[in-house]
Symmetry: C3
Subunit: 152 residues, 3 copies
């Protein structure tokens, strides 16, 4: 059975370096065996944030990829806090889509995050989840995802 690190490599993925928050909060806060992760927004490879609204000017495929980016950044934040990805179980994901008021396909967007967690952590990546539509998101990003992990 491969480790999460080996799975990331097999997927051709590299955990990004996260910019430190400039405000008075932190990317990850451990408490006992729980790890609370701040919401991550999709930073593209060119360093720009992915912006726009689902149902207006962003496609489902784009949204899916942006949610996947958010999940990759959540894993990076968890590793920076905990060190060894093998200790982690994904418990709860809250997936937030910047969407038109009539949008219906939030689950198909947030699957981008859920699928990556299972690809990287296997059964330990399978989590409880809500996937919902926000009125707006910071900087008008397309997707934001926060999560609670368990640390063995």
């Amino acid at each position: 059975m491969r480790t999460p690190e080996e799975r990331l490599t097999a997927l051709g993925l590299v955990l990004p370096d996260l910019a430190a928050p400039t405000d008075t909060y932190v990317p990850a806060k451990p408490a006992g065996q729980f790890l609370f992760l701040s919401g991550q927004t999709p930073h593209r490879a060119d360093g720009e944030l992915a912006v726009g609204k689902l149902g207006v000017d962003v496609t489902l495929d784009e949204g899916y990829r942006h949610a996947r980016l958010c999940a990759l950044q959540l894993i990076a934040a968890a590793r920076a806090s905990v060190g060894d990805l093998s200790r982690l179980t994904v418990l709860k994901v809250f997936g937030m889509v910047n969407a038109d008021p009539g949008f219906k396909d939030h689950p198909k967007v947030i699957n981008g995050a859920s699928d990556l967690f299972v690809e990287v952590f296997g059964e330990k990546g399978r989590h409880a989840r809500s996937a919902v539509g926000m009125g707006s998101l910071p900087h008008q990003v397309t997707v934001e995802v926060e999560a609670i992990f368990h640390v063995d």
Copy 2:
């Protein structure tokens, strides 16, 4: 003192069979003494989802009943995970209303969920809560409710 199961019977309620998620998440994820429950959306008796927006084409009474349905489904998800409802305490409820931007009565809608938890679990059903308005919800359902339970 009656058990939660006896109270459900006295209320004339039957826990529904939940459809298994087709995506890479689960309805309930246990971690130590905590149980994280995925957001539930209101499945009516005819099997259809309740759709529409509060403040537009859904009344407060309808919204209240839909929130109650979500809570019943959350209890069903918890029982499928834990078995015995007597072991459960409701800790935290996040009630999401699909609402017009000018809507004001989110608490009156989410009371449908909160009231059912107290009717079924008694004092152990009394929880911390937020009741808020989303820009949109999956399939345009009227209400979605997620929760964290404690397992004795």
Copy 3:
């Protein structure tokens, strides 16, 4: 090193008396070493709720102060539950802004809550966080903030 109570006094702040919820939920629910706090909405000194939408009729400065009020009320709810503020660590903050669909500055608003937590609790006030835009909030309040605390 000053206690949180001493810091509140140095800031000229007094914890408000919270109105008891009239519905079937509670302001704070303890579970083991965790304390789940219900969403707080900004009650001004005159007893009125602060209402309006960011990006429409509420300024960033006003929103920041309203988020600060929410955080003060969360601390009051935690003290009413736990007694001694020195036992508390802020783990997770969910900051919800009632905003125009095009609003971008949610973090600058919710900083009002995050900053107060650090002013009162020092390093123990530094938390994981999301700061996002809701379609609507109860009574059309400007901001609502919920939190999870740790109790030593």
